[in-house]
Symmetry: C2
Subunit: 342 residues, 2 copies
């Protein structure tokens, strides 16, 4: 099926030089090349419409100039945003990117890691699920370049790019308090797998309540699978003292809450204040507009790439480290009591 490609030998023959010389030309080592030779090769390449074969080059060079990116769940707008930044930055550095979506499934994640390694990627950027610790450990121990994003894997000595999750929750709680909401509940997806940001966000909730001298009510903490989140939300509103405000842990829990609110005619802002972690594309056009805690997604993606590339060109490797990024609040009507709903 594939077209028979013209190879470096064809070019060499056509230009009446050796393969070595053509290779020099391709790699822009012009120092010792006569002007005339160069011209001849240039012409031959054009005439034959020659396209070098990167697979062969990679084999010889033992480097594919490709980075694998494995994302736990591509459905989060956070993930897509960070991935775009990663890809852009990698591109600027002449690296290709292969993106894989693990779908929150450690088995899938494992398969992807193996495929990517077999394909000889030069490094990995991963939003890890919570399986595969050992696999990661092996990789890191053998010095394979890897950077984690959004989450880190515990007991692993690796670089990670993370949100300051505690701060994010504090921002949200503080903002809600300032706006007159006191009984604040929090929604996150299931803690079952001990995914770091979720734990940190719950922890952040507790410490924020503490800090602002508010009681911590366990029944205000809803950590559950998305599929049953709406039931959890319903429970919240059936409490004797339902919460006055909600902090949504990410864009998917937000979606569940918005669905519940639409179905039960809960007026966001007036009936219940709302702040969500993660900026979503529709935040400003929602009615009422949604107050969000935005992550600096571009900077985080950029940093991940920087950390990874750093591992290539420096012999002395820095100690692995967790890099924390500051969240910022984008205040909109969903967290204002007065006149929120049109």
């Amino acid at each position: 099926m594939p077209i028979k490609k013209t190879t470096i030998s064809d070019v060499a023959k056509h230009a009446q030089v050796s393969k070595s010389t053509v290779s020099q030309y391709l790699n822009e080592r012009f120092e010792y090349m006569r002007e005339e030779t160069r011209k001849r090769i240039e012409k031959a390449i054009k005439e034959l419409n020659y396209q070098p074969n990167n697979v062969a080059r990679s084999l010889k060079l033992k480097s594919t100039a490709t980075i694998g990116v494995i994302v736990a769940n591509i459905l989060h707008s956070y993930s897509t945003q960070v991935i775009r930044a990663i890809e852009d930055t990698l591109n600027e550095n002449e690296f290709s990117t292969i993106i894989c979506n693990a779908d929150d499934d450690p088995e899938k994640e494992k398969k992807y890691i193996e495929t990517l390694l077999a394909r000889q990627v030069d490094g990995l950027i991963v939003f890890p699920t919570s399986g595969n610790q050992e696999l990661y450990k092996r990789l890191i121990d053998s010095n394979f370049p890897i950077v984690f994003v959004d989450r880190y894997v515990s007991d692993l000595n690796a670089d990670a790019v993370m949100l300051d999750n505690e701060k994010a929750i504090h921002l949200a709680v503080e903002h809600l308090l300032t706006n007159g909401y006191e009984d604040i509940a929090v929604l996150t997806t299931s803690l079952e797998n001990a995914v770091v940001p979720r734990l940190e966000r719950i922890q952040g909730y507790r410490s924020a309540m503490d800090r602002f001298k508010l009681p911590i009510r366990e029944d205000y903490i809803k950590s559950m699978d998305l599929s049953v989140m709406k039931d959890g939300i319903a429970e919240l509103f059936q409490l004797e003292k339902p919460p006055q405000a909600i902090v949504s842990g990410n864009d998917l829990t937000l979606m569940e809450f918005l669905k519940y609110a639409a179905e039960h005619n809960v007026k966001i802002g007036t009936d219940v204040g709302l702040v969500t972690i993660d900026e979503v594309p529709y935040a400003s056009v929602h009615n009422p507009p949604l107050t969000t805690i935005a992550q600096p997604t571009f900077e985080m993606g950029e940093k991940a790439v920087e950390l990874l590339l750093h591992k290539f060109d420096s012999i002395k490797k820095n100690d692995p480290k967790i890099y924390r990024f500051d969240p910022s609040i984008i205040a909109r009507k969903s967290s204002e009591k007065a006149g929120a709903q049109l």
Copy 2:
């Protein structure tokens, strides 16, 4: 930097067989292999933690089992949905996927095509921009497997997977009429680059108005760059006879319209009916919920892969063809006059 990998030779030595035999093992050609040999190789692979090098394999086999996907603009939710379907389907067939975002820039698109070819992808699925006709022509003439999605490139004899755009607009217009809206305007992004779906959607608008015996008002047709779309929408509402309803050409024009509506306190449903092409994730939680014309994104992605894979295993190639998919309407409140807004 890369770890020195164990190779097939190491395994062969360790298992005391030849490389050929190990290769047979790897490719599961067990027919002529003694049980005992197989066991020995299996053991050696495990002990050495051997991972075959796919780059070498690809070079020898002249096939990378990788498909390149180039998307004109990844920001459309349509694109992300189709891409997910493509990736899933490709995965099921043991192909890897490399996704590139051309950002609506033909130059970028060209660069990606070249990179992907250099990387020896076995085929290409592309949501084309409107440059690079010649490049595509060359590829197709040389029999390189390629399938277009969402748009086709004119004068090119290639397979394409498309929405029935005319039908989509007819559905929208008909639905709005049924709901009592008669003066219907349409919003699409700039026609400058003659991107097929936009043309077809405008054409569909004209034919729909015709069919339903409504006058075609040129000032109800707004085709412009997203950056000035809001001005165009403003013009619409400053007309002596502003439209009663809007058909939005895609999710990005929708976003512009929703922004305008929010800023100018235009009540969707009551003040102006709205139907948009493309289902968006927030359609059902928007207030009011948005009536959308959904594309069968999964089927379209699946079909694209099927067409592409078909080119690999059949010698006789079918005549290239444009496959049209039916849109379906998801009616929600934004196109209901009564009680749309809470």
